[in-house]
């Protein structure tokens, strides 16, 4: 009896869920229609709809990117910004872009989760005459209007130059890598070594991955500290790992005089840099503001370059004081 009841309950639930799905879609379609109406009325007022397909909302760096883009768009009355959450899935992001096309947005901004899976849908949009701004990660094609992004290779070089100078050309470095095999990890390491390897007095004595997370980086640094009596500097591929390395050095009472360099410009790291606990971070710019500014230029019919490389900002105790992190 109880079993039968349960089965009914389960079936009922299934029914409710299966019904609610198409309803959702219906409301989406309604939305799409109404926004098309909006569009015609807006077009008279010279307003452009900008659809931004963000690959995920779960990463602080991306959350900040959304915030900055909304802030910048809010200052331009002629633009209306709509943001879609790709939920860290390629298929969802492709669907988001297709929805934008159905909605009839005027300009598309895409920050791809991965290059290859997003390429066809972006090509389709561009071929249909839609201006497409690609942010941060490239796609496998040149069918887009403009690419805006930072260079990890360049950031790696900047970090290398900074450390080489601060160390006076000699000493031992611990390098804490990000996720092995990921492109940013490779480029942040490659750029750094291009500079550091040309100094015979500087040696990267210890190099292990910390997966861009604090806890693994803390363990890597603990091992490095017991393996080497002399460590002059730490180069971490992001700020979260730099903080982990600092905590390990502090627990071993060896943090004094040690240089800590990270990448990203995370708020906690910036705070610690201002307190003099950490040395420097190199901001990995998100390009949100630039994307809106170029969208504006496109809307006004101005020509834009095919590629814009964003420079990094070096944040130290007394540099880039107006930067507060994300």
């Amino acid at each position: 009896m109880a079993k039968r009841l349960l089965t009914f309950l389960a079936l009922g639930l299934l029914l409710v869920f299966s019904c609610s799905e198409p309803q959702k879609q219906k409301s989406k379609e309604q939305k799409a229609v109404s926004s098309e109406e909006d569009l015609t009325t807006l077009a008279f007022k010279n307003r452009y709809i900008v659809g931004f397909s963000q690959c995920t909302f779960e990463d602080p760096w991306r959350i900040n990117m959304n915030k900055e883009m909304e802030k910048e768009a809010g200052q331009h009355m002629e633009l209306k910004l709509v943001i879609a959450n790709g939920e860290n899935r390629n298929a969802k992001q492709v669907a988001d872009i297709e929805n934008f096309l159905v909605m009839g947005v005027n300009i598309l901004i895409v920050s791809p989760r991965e290059s290859a899976p997003l390429t066809p849908v972006v090509e389709k949009a561009y071929s249909a005459g839609k201006p497409v701004i690609i942010l941060d990660r490239k796609i496998d094609s040149n069918k887009y209007t403009i690419f805006i992004g930072a260079s990890n290779l360049e950031i790696g070089r900047e970090a290398g130059k900074y450390l080489a100078e601060k160390m006076g050309g000699k000493g031992n470095i611990v390098e804490i890598e990000g996720i092995l095999g990921a492109t940013p990890t490779q480029e942040r390491s490659q750029g750094f070594h291009e500079i550091i390897d040309s100094y015979p007095g500087i040696k990267v004595v210890y190099k292990q991955p910390g997966d861009y997370k604090r806890s693994p980086a803390l363990k890597v640094m603990e091992n490095a500290l017991s393996a080497y009596d002399r460590i002059d500097a730490v180069y971490a591929h992001n700020d979260e790992m730099m903080i982990g390395a600092y905590l390990a050095a502090k627990a071993a009472k060896r943090e004094k005089g040690m240089l800590f360099v990270g990448i990203d410009g995370q708020k906690e790291a910036v705070d610690m840099i201002r307190q003099g606990l950490l040395s420097a971070t190199f901001v990995y710019p998100n390009g949100a503001k630039e994307a809106i500014l170029y969208a504006l230029m496109i809307a006004q019919g101005k020509s834009v370059p095919k590629e814009v490389r964003l420079p990094t900002t070096r944040v130290t105790r007394d540099e880039a004081l107006d930067y507060s992190g994300f």
Binding site: F57, S215, A227, I243, L247
Partner: protein, 320 residues
Amino acid sequence: MKAAPSLGLIGLILVLTVVWDLFISPEMRITGKFFTARNLGNIFRQNSEYGLLAVGMTFVILSGGIDLSVGSLLAFSSVLTASMIERQPLAGPGYALLVVALGLAGAAALGLGNGLMVVLGRLQPFIATLAMMSIARGFAFLWTRGRGIDLLGDEPKLFEFLGSDLGPIPVPAILFLGSVLCSLLVLHRTRLGRFIYAIGSNEAAARLSGVPVGKIKVLVYTICGFLCGVAAMTYTARNYAGRPDDGLGFELDAIAAVVIGGTNLMGGRGGVGGTLIGALIIGVLNNVLGIRGVDPNLQRVLKGAIIVAAVLLQRERKSD
């Protein structure tokens, strides 16, 4: 001593290390560094979290179950604790104690949930804890809205203590070894312990002999949840942070430690002494390979090989 072959394995790893340093890469001769107190501390410091999870896992596996939710429970308890500290960073030691108590209670409550699903819901432990793995992780993300909680500069002294050293001995190691000791007592000196072994060997027989199977099982999952909470406390204190995506995949390390330690995955045989050795083997291996700068991908291969070797060694022993 069932775990003796595994103990031999640790010796083997150390001998290989010395050989490696003497003959293969003499320029990296840092063997001496391995045997320092600081490094010994590292091994315990870094593996107490896994170790605590593995002790809880031992209880569950001995009773014939499995718990896949331990990593998620750690993350849940960690963000719960971190968020309470963040709210009142300046509060006194009384508040810190309360926070620790609530963090432990939260993890134990989810463990209790596991037990109830298994016993009252009659779900297979694999399914019930798989569901809890997702539920607890989801709660952790909802609670923090996807963003981690940072305690840099906010951590109360009393809480900081949980991640620090007491003289040369790391506090997480004390908690880990303490939990091993308590578990040894419970498993081998109490009726509860005998009941757990009985259920794991033959549940039907245990039930017929009047063992309160349901109650004991619920208790076992609750104990496991509680130990996840203890692990979460040291984890949070050490990292000065609570992150909803922490502890991903920890359940596999915990299960590996239990299995290397000689506990039978079908239940009823083995013990927490073996788990201690299992956790140490993984710890020594991570440490030795790490300080020698062995390629991280090769490290994974070697770790897998060690698990197989440990289990094979035990099997030979059994057939003697």
